[in-house]
Symmetry: C2
């Protein structure tokens, strides 16, 4: 839907971009750079087309998500170029956690009053993130909805589809007590917990321009650090090691998300076994936030978990590190559900 | 993202629904009713899984869209049960227009303050629409974003993925002057033009409770009439007749959308060759809206177009009518681009 404007300049698929300004030209080039030979040209079409090949028993994995109130931080700072990477990487990690390879992405940007340059900034960021992950950006929609969004506030939603062989689906089935939980470091808040994160800054009377509490950059920069993707490193891992469960640590933190990868089992996580980006310390101290709330609201430094058999753990960590990811053994699978935090072994 | 709440009760995929109230139980049952054997159980997973089979050269078709400010009409009337069908049918028609069969759907509902009953009402409506079309609802996300949305205002976004054989993709290639444009009737405004439609009602001092200007129902009921899906009838058509182009008539109306199906050709549409739901007459008269604006903003009675060779037109119309769709020959393909409106032959 594009209300009573002509069809959006960046209409679903094949990616018709009609606005002539410079930002849009950059956006168009970025989007087209994500199109390999799998993308079937459909420039004014109603859906983005992607030729799937090489799979005997293909399973499609689909997910949709938004960047949440991280957009309000972006608005305060006046910088929208990282939000595209946030939504692409968030969605790609969700597809990845199911065992599939993310292949195509479509985005939705809605605002009370669409600023073409801002939309182009968001879409260009999404396209660059897609390109980095080998994902084709095949469609998008911009919606101008005065009355629903205040002024230039915007919401950013993305959907990602991937595929894999049926035998490569990972659901946590087969996870066994004694398996090892490997944590992949987050880059910061990713896209979760911004309601609390913003409140802490506001209550403390801080500005996003300030450099505070152990940060080497401004609060705004730390808060806008893009959501990290794990596609390259986890794909490398899966070529070498059998992975039994995977969790993307989003809203709900480790206690809310890790059990989703454990097929009914639970986990004991070793306190202090991983490093935390400084932004979490800032929030904890500034807001005097209790530790269990920190853990339920934020990823506290672990953005993604993989679960492997104990005898595979060392090799898995080696492969992940070779792929440039400072993976750590952060816990073990135990009987029963839930997540407990305990001193390391 | 689910902010600092625990993971949403209706989290991406496999469809984990944890709230226990009655509305949610109904929602769960509706969502599960859309799951055939193709859906791979992944109840707490991060992505919805669907086994694709039967295609030698599969092409995936992806689209994303929102219901726009139709949500504000729903809010005024206090009725959200039709919005799910709106977003499902809108997205499904987009996939359909590319030549693919819609297979899976994921939804995103965002609000300043999520009312579980309202979310359940929306999702239940989406699930019922999916079920009617043979689409599996494999995931969803609810986002609570105080500060971005006012109070209980909400935005509803959906993404639909479909697939077809590569040879069944329809892009408008091969459309030739002299081909026939067949119009499939819309049910009303579908999901476009609500900014103007709402303004007309407001400026006239009408209430959505009023029965006005030729309507047999209230203005609110007419405005909320669900977006019609064309999946069943067009699928039947394609089993019998070769379709050269298809257009879903959304924002931009016939002039904005029909050319997208014509591979560079244009169309002459016959004035008066189709019927208009009464709601368009109401808006035209009440708002004194010029005809060309009506045609650019609204579907004016044609929700979907198919383009066939002249010699196939009669059979195509017959098949569509047998499938329960009052299809009409509404125009012809001409050289040059664009759409002109002219007296019929």
């Amino acid at each position: 839907m594009t209300e009573n404007n002509p069809p959006s300049s960046y209409e679903a698929a094949g990616v018709s971009i009609e606005r002539g300004d410079e930002a849009t030209d950059l956006m168009r080039a970025s989007v087209e750079a994500t199109h390999g030979p799998e993308v079937i040209p459909n420039p004014r079409g109603f859906a983005g087309l992607y030729a799937l090949s090489g799979l005997r028993e293909p399973v499609l994995a689909s997910t949709i998500d938004g960047v949440g109130t991280k957009v309000l931080v972006a608005g305060s700072v006046g910088r929208y170029d990282t939000l595209g990477a946030d939504i692409v990487n968030h969605c790609a990690n969700d597809v990845l956690a199911s065992g599939a390879t993310p292949l195509v992405f479509v985005d939705y940007v809605a605002s009370g009053r669409l600023d073409p340059a801002t939309v182009a900034e968001v879409v260009r960021g999404a396209a660059e993130a897609c390109e980095a992950l080998g994902i084709s950006l095949v469609g998008g929609e911009t919606a101008e909805m005065p009355g629903l969004y205040a002024g230039s506030d915007l919401d950013i939603v993305g959907a990602c589809m991937g595929a894999c062989e049926r035998g490569d689906v990972v659901t946590g089935e087969g996870v066994t007590a004694g398996d090892v939980v490997i944590g992949l470091p987050s880059s910061g808040l990713h896209t979760n917990g911004y309601t609390l994160a913003r409140k802490v800054v506001e209550d403390a009377g801080l500005s996003y321009e300030d450099v505070a509490g152990g940060l080497s950059k401004t609060v705004g920069e730390a808060y806008l650090e893009p959501h990290r993707a794990y596609v390259r490193e986890v794909s490398a891992l899966r070529r070498s090691v059998r992975v039994r469960g995977m969790a993307h640590i989003t809203g709900g933190g480790l206690p809310g998300n890790l059990p989703r990868a454990l097929g009914g089992k639970g986990a004991r996580l070793y306190e202090g076994a991983w490093e935390e980006p400084a932004v979490f310390g800032l929030i904890r101290n500034l807001g005097d936030v209790p530790e269990d709330e920190m853990r339920r609201v934020f990823n506290v430094g672990v953005g993604f978990c993989v679960v492997v058999k104990a005898e595979d753990a060392e090799m898995a960590i080696g492969v992940l590190r070779d792929a440039g990811c400072e993976a750590k053994r952060i816990g073990e699978v135990v009987e029963g559900g839930g997540v407990e935090f305990a001193p390391g072994p």
